[in-house]
Chain length 322, copies 2
């Protein structure tokens, strides 16, 4: 026989699924529920505790029980993966490693590309609110700028969803698990490499709304300084991941105009984004380093670890020369 | 009679001033100094302790004494002020308030404009190395990006120079004193103001290498979210403080191209930099808020407080509506 409180919990869950109690609304009080479902208050309390445990409601002493999620348990083995891009080779590699590792461990994977857009990211995070997922692996949109979607992530933390951040996490997230490549090291090694080949004046193009690229910039300029060479402001260009409407500072024409001026001063311009090429009139230098471990596998492992032990370590993966 | 160790300290200081021991070089060992200047080792030790205290040498057990500064004490009452700009009304106000407050308290003020350039900032910080100043008030160049000059600031921290940061400090500086306006609040209040006037779709232009402007962006978008309105990615443009060579995303033509597209979607574009205007074809909204206290006076007070008590509180100054 199913205990009374389990059967009540299932009834309540069903009512929530059928929008009798929509997300964001408050459940009736314990007394009211006991009356409505013809059970004792202690049965109500046990059922509510289960719903809290499953992340369906949020219980605050004195302020009632708020519905924060719905679940028919259909997503309970699914990990959502949010990456900025579904075409770039770097991201398809990360995604395929995440998928193969998670599927080997009995999970399903649901992938969405945020296109580095706050709006799209928000839509997918709202999708995540509608069900109980097994976890979330996310590279934040515009990671060098403040996130406009921290509120939804904080709600997921409250729901105890295992979350793994790629690269960096918003500062408002407490004790995040972050899996990252050593982007500072990438920049540092690239500058050393160019200096070792005889270049004394370096420039660069970095992506200003991408945290990892700004970390690479930091490594790049530290290596120049450590070699007692000069950091020449005018030889650096920071462009957005996507150009804003009408601005086009990432077009070949825009990049070429910059390179034309930069090469009046420097002998090598490092470009920290393989999608930026210019039209080939001026040389650019890109990184040929590869991560010494698979970023995707480390992310999948971290999710599995959190499911198992409640927590996981953050990891920074060094690059190796090819 | 001058004690032997004071007279030895003055001799050593003089030798350092006259480049017998240049900055970065090591002094002879205690034994060698005792022999050369015909004094006891304990006199040498006392003289060296004084030089450490005055920030002239850096003493590391086992690795000798490195010359890190020169001083004829001519700058001992001078505070260096480094601001990005010497023309913008905001900065001239800050500087004039710093100056009047410091001069009332018996200090001299030496002002330099870094033009938001890493290179110029470095030149002035190197100037600061040549002497013992009373303090430094600095708004970092490109404050939303990693500083390339943290090494020199860390050296000044080691020399116990009182430093006050305006807006933000590099994360590598331990326990910095930061005087800031409430930039998040500025953005939040501006969005509320526009929403209260009936605007439902907002856009904005912010400065991507300026920490305070990115904080304002965070407040702006949080206010939109808190009003249950949508944050529309394409209606935001992040430009640099200075355009890189050939890129010109801050020119009137560039701004107008962006505004043309943005006004297909939104009804108001907030611009967080009074120097960005466009050509007037499209309306822009700028902040008319003013700080409720003088940023410059708070900076000067913090320097005075550090000189007196060894430390001072960080302060965030709220804005008030005009």
């Amino acid at each position: 026989m199913i205990p009374k409180y389990i059967s009540l919990k299932n009834k309540l869950n069903n009512d929530i699924l059928e929008n009798k109690y929509p997300i964001g609304s408050k459940l009736p009080t314990e007394v009211e529920l006991a009356k409505e479902y013809k059970v004792s208050r202690s049965t109500v309390r046990q059922a509510l505790d289960l719903l809290v445990e499953q992340g369906i409601i949020d219980k605050h002493w004195g302020s009632g029980n708020t519905v924060i999620a719905k679940s028919d348990n259909s997503k309970s083995k699914t990990v959502m993966v949010l990456l900025p891009n579904n075409k770039d080779a770097v991201f398809t590699d990360v995604f395929s490693d995440i998928s193969s590792m998670l599927m080997k461990n009995g999970f399903e994977v649901e992938f969405h590309s945020t296109q580095n857009s706050y709006q799209l990211e928000r839509q997918y995070l709202q999708l995540l609110m509608n069900d109980i997922y097994a976890g979330l692996i996310i590279m934040m949109a515009r990671s060098n700028f403040p996130s406009t979607n921290v509120d939804l992530l904080q709600l997921q933390c409250k729901r105890q969803l295992p979350i793994v951040f790629i690269g960096t996490a918003p500062s408002a997230i407490y004790n995040p698990v972050i899996i990252s490549t050593d982007n500072y090291g990438r920049g540092y090694q690239m500058a050393r490499h160019l200096i070792n080949r005889g270049h004394k004046k370096l420039g660069g193009i970095f992506v200003n709304d991408n945290y990892s690229s700004i970390q690479a910039f930091s490594g790049f300029t530290d290596a120049i300084r450590d070699a007692n060479l000069e950091i020449i402001d005018n030889s650096y260009h920071f462009c957005n991941y996507h150009d804003p409407q009408g601005v086009n500072s990432r077009t070949n024409a825009g990049i070429n105009r910059f390179l034309k001026y930069a090469y009046d001063t420097v002998s090598a311009v490092y470009v920290d984004d393989s999608n930026i090429t210019g039209d080939g009139t001026f040389p650019i230098f890109t990184s040929s380093l590869t991560p010494s471990k698979s970023l995707g596998k480390e992310c999948a492992n971290a999710i599995i670890e959190i499911k198992k032990n409640g927590n996981s370590k953050s990891v920074t993966i060094p690059f190796k020369a090819n």
